[in-house]
Symmetry: C2
Subunit: 342 residues, 2 copies
């Protein structure tokens, strides 16, 4: 059942039927109702492909996911972000198209998305310092929103980010207030912008108390369980091990916990741990009572908001670049306590 058939059945022209269904004013209300009813009765749904060609809009948003020679992006955090963004798209009748491509094809993928007209805009994931995607997208004129920020980019651009620096500064200060002075940082990869900011927050807090950071207490790696284990293990076998550890994610923290408990230490008593909690649906930080003390910010909500921002940018190209900084909350769990008496 297409528009023409429906129009014939109604004894109207396709024009009128189209206008009736799309709420244009130049059609009689009774006619409109008649059309609406017939559309429902005959189960008419306009062909998306035709709409897209006729309107020149793709009604779709792209997410380009490079696969992993350098860094694996397909992680649970990413999944939750996508889920959040997807909710927004569904509500607005947009399609979400994911392109999973080898990372050397990333640039050509963006160019293709634009020139072939597959999408109206994209979300940029996991920005790095001086991220080349930002000038690229500006050059080709594809609307975009960055999830995070890219230090080093001069021109303003659209982004939505969590205040990672502040979050880690607060977390570090929280441990300092409990008397900890040797605090380890199990960070993500530090070519990632968010990881740089987290380290900055950590360092700011230390220097605020006149503490000289110890490089042996700062690690940077993928946010996996195994990497978390390895980093924590190394720190804990130092001559003077840390009494507190900051972990970059719930998953890293799983590894940190394994290292800690493997040495027979009790979390919250012998050693304090604070994590950054993205509030993942499949990795809840406890139920009512949080397991870990954490800086929490829902990445799923971030996905929803970033998608809304992008749809707005697409609808109103004239407006200047939007920017939004979310604050993480510091929630107290059972994994922190005063520094143990020697």
């Amino acid at each position: 059942m297409n528009l023409k058939e429906l129009a014939t059945k109604l004894g109207l022209s396709p024009t009128t039927v189209s206008r009736a269904l799309n709420g244009y004013p130049e059609v009689n209300e009774t006619t409109r109702e008649r059309v609406m009813a017939a559309a429902k009765r005959h189960n008419y749904h306009p062909n998306t492909r035709a709409i897209r060609l006729a309107t020149g809009r793709a009604m779709a948003v792209g997410h380009v996911i490079p696969i992993a020679t350098r860094h694996e992006i397909v992680n649970p955090v990413f999944a939750d972000f996508i889920a959040g963004a997807g909710e927004t798209y569904s509500r607005n009748d947009y399609d979400m198209v994911l392109s999973v491509v080898p990372d050397e094809d990333e640039e050509s993928t963006y160019r293709g998305l634009k020139s072939k007209g597959n999408v109206d805009g994209v979300i940029v994931h996991a920005p790095r310092m001086n991220d080349p995607r930002i000038p690229l997208l500006r050059e080709i004129g594809l609307p975009f929103v960055v999830h995070g920020r890219a230090t080093g980019t001069a021109e303003p651009y659209c982004w939505l980010d969590v205040n990672n620096r502040r979050a880690f500064q607060r977390a570090t200060e929280f441990l300092l207030d409990l008397g900890h002075t040797r605090i380890g940082l199990v960070n993500g990869l530090e070519f990632m912008d968010f990881a740089i900011r987290r380290r900055t927050g950590y360092l700011d807090a230390l220097s605020g108390r006149g503490i000289v950071p110890d490089p042996a207490l700062m690690s940077s790696d993928e946010m996996t369980e195994v990497a978390g284990y390895r980093a924590a293990r190394a720190m804990l076998s130092l001559p003077i091990p840390p009494t507190g550890i900051l972990a970059a994610s719930m998953i890293s923290a799983m590894g940190v916990r394994r290292a800690v408990e493997g040495l027979g230490l009790v979390i919250g008593r012998d050693i304090s741990i604070i994590i950054h909690d993205d509030d993942l649906s499949y990795m809840k930080n406890g139920e009512d009572v949080p397991i870990f003390t954490a800086t929490r910010s829902s990445v799923r909500e971030a996905g929803r908001l970033a998608a809304e921002m992008l749809l707005d940018v697409i609808a109103n190209p004239g407006n200047g670049p939007q920017q939004r900084l979310l604050e993480a909350e510091l929630i107290i769990g059972q994994s922190t306590g005063p520094v143990p008496k020697a």
Copy 2:
């Protein structure tokens, strides 16, 4: 730059240019090369929306993701499957469109995808017993491949699955061979088909040795860390606790481990654990040496294969339903050992 412009520039008709670019035989080779060169030089990329309308194909595949009143599907396992499928789509110039919808809208989403022509086929995730999506998709005539199987569905349909029954039977037998007789099962939700099959495998192995299953040793819940913890905790505080535990996923196992270690038990000595390992990119089961003894089957590879199957079904609608059963391998890690002497 569109087809007409390019044709004008070349002094050819759009017909010929289109045919030259699409490799039709009725065009002179020298002409074709001239066209190809011009297309590259002018950076011509045919508009996807126009192609889709003209050919009547969407060149896209859908994945419908219901969100969570009943059961959260956005988990790391799902993410890796999607990544694998996405690789296949990219290689074949198909788009992957994800629809994240409230689960009460699932049926109407599938109907819409079909009648609006957004996709050429879909992958069905997380099948349940008597899954209603299978008859629905058959009814509306949308090609599909199921990741998993749906017990209770009479008519044959396309699927790709792991032999979950066999995997869990082997894992159970492995523990039995080590002398364990009280073996706990931390299963996924048992309205999910794979969870039913896993339990069947577990029960088959037990009854093969004449062991009567103890309901207190069988739990069924979401495959989250917290649920794994809770289930293991409950089993371990029984009057006669298990000496071996099967866990449904890496994530569940994180919780099981927390419960075990929280009681001061040593994995592999005091208690043996076998997990099902989906070989997730962000949740590797150790590096060279596996941490957990596991039944392993890469869900990412499953995604690649399921996508290939679907593209094949789309291209050759006539062929009968394809079905493929993958076997999991049993890999020995450090989490299992002989039953401890009392």
